[in-house]
Amino acid sequence: MTLLKEPDFGTPARPGEATIELTVDGVAVQVPPGTSVMRAAKHAGVDVPKLCATDNLEAFGSCRLCIVEIDGMRGTPASCTTPVAPGMNVRTQNEKLGKLRRGVMELYISDHPLDCLTCSANGDCELQDMAGVTGLREVRYGSGVDAGANHMAAPTDSSNPYFDFEASKCIACSRCVRACDEVQGTLALTIEGRGFDSKVAAGAGVSFFESDCVSCGACVQACPTATLQEKSVIELGMPTRSVITTCAYCGVGCSFKAELRGDELVRMVPYKNGGANEGHSCVKGRFAFGYASHPDRVLEPMVRDSIADEWRKVSWEEAISFTARRLREIQAQYGQGSIGAITSSRTTNEEVYTVQKMVRAVFGNNNVDTCARVCHSPTGYGLKQTFGESAGTQDFKSVDEADVILVIGANPTDAHPVFGSRMKQRIRKGAKLIVIDPRRTDLVRSPHIEAAYHLELRPGTNVAIINAIAHVVVTEGLVDREFVASRCEDFEAWEEFIARPEHAPEAVDELTGVSAEKIRAAARLYATGGNGAIYYGLGVTEHSQGSTMVMGMANLAMATGNIGRRGVGVNPLRGQNNVQGSCDMGSFPHELPGYRHVSDDGVREVYEQLWGTPLLNEPGLRIPNMFDAAIDGSFRALFVQGEDIAQSDPNTQHVFAALGALELLVVQDLFVNETAKFAHVLLPGTSFLEKDGTFTNAERRINRVRPVMAPQTGKQEWEIICEIAQAMGYPMHYDSAAQIMDEIALTTPTFMGVSFKALDEAGSIQWPCNVEHPDGTPIMHEEEFTRGKGRFMETVYVPTSERSTRKYPLILTTGRILSQYNVGAQTRRTANVAWHPEDILELHPHDAEVRGIEDGDTVALSSRVGRTTLHAKLSDRIPVGVCYTTFHHPVTGANVITTDNSDWATNCPEYKVTAVQVDLLAEPAAHAATQEALVTGGTR
């Protein structure tokens, strides 16, 4: 494939039918009202010269290269800022226009270095292109230093780890400033000075790195010259070919062009036609891909008999036969149910599918779970109970039509940045925002964004809050009775339940820490403000009442009729790239692919016939159950696919004890991660750049993951699974990942119409994709719910048993930051560490003062299960009595602190509520954080 250069229409598309007909250079064209003449010309096949225009930014009209002549209009209007009109007759080329354009170009070139042959943007520079297009042959004013006053000596800012700002090449077109504003919404960049002194600046007197810039890359992408340029391009040269693929970071699932020179990846450029991102990106997807070629990568299989032994590099044959033999030996000694596997939300659907198939068909049990257990399993449970489908209801674009956006326990500008930018765009256009979160996230207040209400609740009181909001809806006559009557069931019982006085805002204000007045105001706004859309994250699910809260949100959406159309819905923001897909693929121990219970004889029969083996009809072990069973001795071998459970799962010492008790631990991963320290077999995995398959994002969008390069390990991960299965005596074979998807489609009704061919043709498909919805389903539950009627569920608030005490008086809650991802296995191996070299503890100044703690001090953080040390950061983002940290660095070990409390329905850990104490360390140690397990099983 050659380098893919997407067409640039100059200005954004306008919605509506193409009802305006005009003529451009004699070519008739029809476009929607509001379209610019420049864009209409492009549709007519006419490229109008331009520099300051690009089609993901509103027209600016500064460069004057795009001037045209229009019959009946005076002068030479800019085609980018001139809207089309019926019957317009436009001329884009004649002698007069050419002369004017050359005059403009002369001015640009007179203040631009003429180093094109050695410039890093040579061949990818719009200024260079326009010099050619306009026929520039001379610069009458001279160029560079000969032209008098100029900007040739302007300094280069190389402070950002990923791109340079070479100010001497800036043409002050403002595309970068506008991209930061209109696309990203951070407004970090500005034009400083006036007239000749105008220059791009990242804040006042600070470098790009020191500024508010979030390194999303939108400015780099927008820059028409070499002014903002990836360091990788400067170092390696212009790429020569592109592969369209999907980002392997968060659940937004951005599409990218991987641009290479030969087999070397030069840069990742967000793909305009990407259904989830439409050309935007964040610092992780855009730049943080270096981990894939990091020297820490393990490329050869390794084996050892005991975890006390050194690793021994072995051939694939030996690693696979060792694994298969040990698994069978352990089953023979301890029973069929003594082994199991954990699938990964970072691997492809096809890889996950083969692992769960190996467990069910080859291991002969249902001991398969996924790392979604510890993040969004309550979503699966709660939405299935109420709506009948374990998935979010909307596509991302739906937020463009939301009038009230209710964000609960999510921090999209950090954890789902590209969707966060889209959400901010909608809020800036007038949508109201309600944030329910203990912490004041950037969404609550940032440039041009301010929440109408921030319900700064105490951690662990989500259900009390959502019930109180629903109480207001019911008791103030705000129920959408028509919707409820026609679309739902069990409403009357729920209505009686939720109207009880104990759910009134006034009854829970002290408990939740949110005033009754604010709860009532937020409820009224959500119920009456037009389209109400709920977006939520792990701040909802990772609680002992996570499933209850998901059902509470579903109740609220149904009661107000905010389901089944654009602009509304209940939408989980998934943490990892393929959380949705790993769940869809039958990773849960009680569900076959498509969320169908293992006890369903009809469903099991489909797989039994295809796989040629009987399947168990009883659920298997969930991850926490596996740990418990490992400790009690009934579970002896575990296969872990691409997850670092030793770092990511709660109550580290409990996890360590479980892993240490296993007779066989097989880890399939890119690195020797924390879990691998307990492993007997390490099977090297493939990075997303090597995989061939699909990811499914938070909006149920199935995207192709195309191999950018051959697997560095020599094998696709699904091939390894097949070989283990074969070595265990089961004939499992696929010719390709596409063939695996064909089997998924054959056996899973919601994937019936999905194939690699269909995905290549459509770009992406949102499931369900079947006979009724051959093109997929962007919005769910439009006519009826998946289960028929939406079901109201009574959501009793049961407080967590994890409460602050005299010994542990603070509540720790955890979260993520923009530059890092999950346990940091990937991002810590990139330059992103420049922004977050360590996890820190946010502590309210009041809580710090009474402990004698100052900003930057080293503190001990202890809970009833463990203790660690971090540096403190004083912050009023969190309320008094609450502290906050991230879990991106193993040295800090945030999960040494978290407990084994979990959601009652799904066992999802309660990461978000841990009673802790924070103490100033008398003699601050060098920050090689120490971790210490306290007495296991300490009482609450």
Partner: protein, 73 residues
């Protein structure tokens, strides 16, 4: 509540708390259904054994649910 309880007992008690607002017989049926849906057999068996041993640390409604599980075996 103490984490010295076996995991299946602790979890059963936590589930029972979620259904405490419903009549005991109805709650026990719902809890047993939930456990049948998502619990591994060894957890169900361990809970049944715990109930049959007459342990006092099991919530009465959870114990009733365990009886339902035992009857369904």
């Amino acid at each position: 509540m103490s984490s010295s309880l076996p995991p299946h007992v602790r979890l059963a008690n936590e589930i029972a708390a979620q259904f405490a607002h419903r009549p005991p017989a109805e709650a026990a049926t719902a809890i047993a259904t939930h456990m049948k849906t998502v619990w591994d057999p060894r957890m169900k068996n361990a809970l049944i054994a715990h109930m049959q041993a007459g342990a006092q640390d099991l919530d009465p409604v959870a114990a009733l649910a365990a009886q339902h599980l035992a009857a369904a075996k």
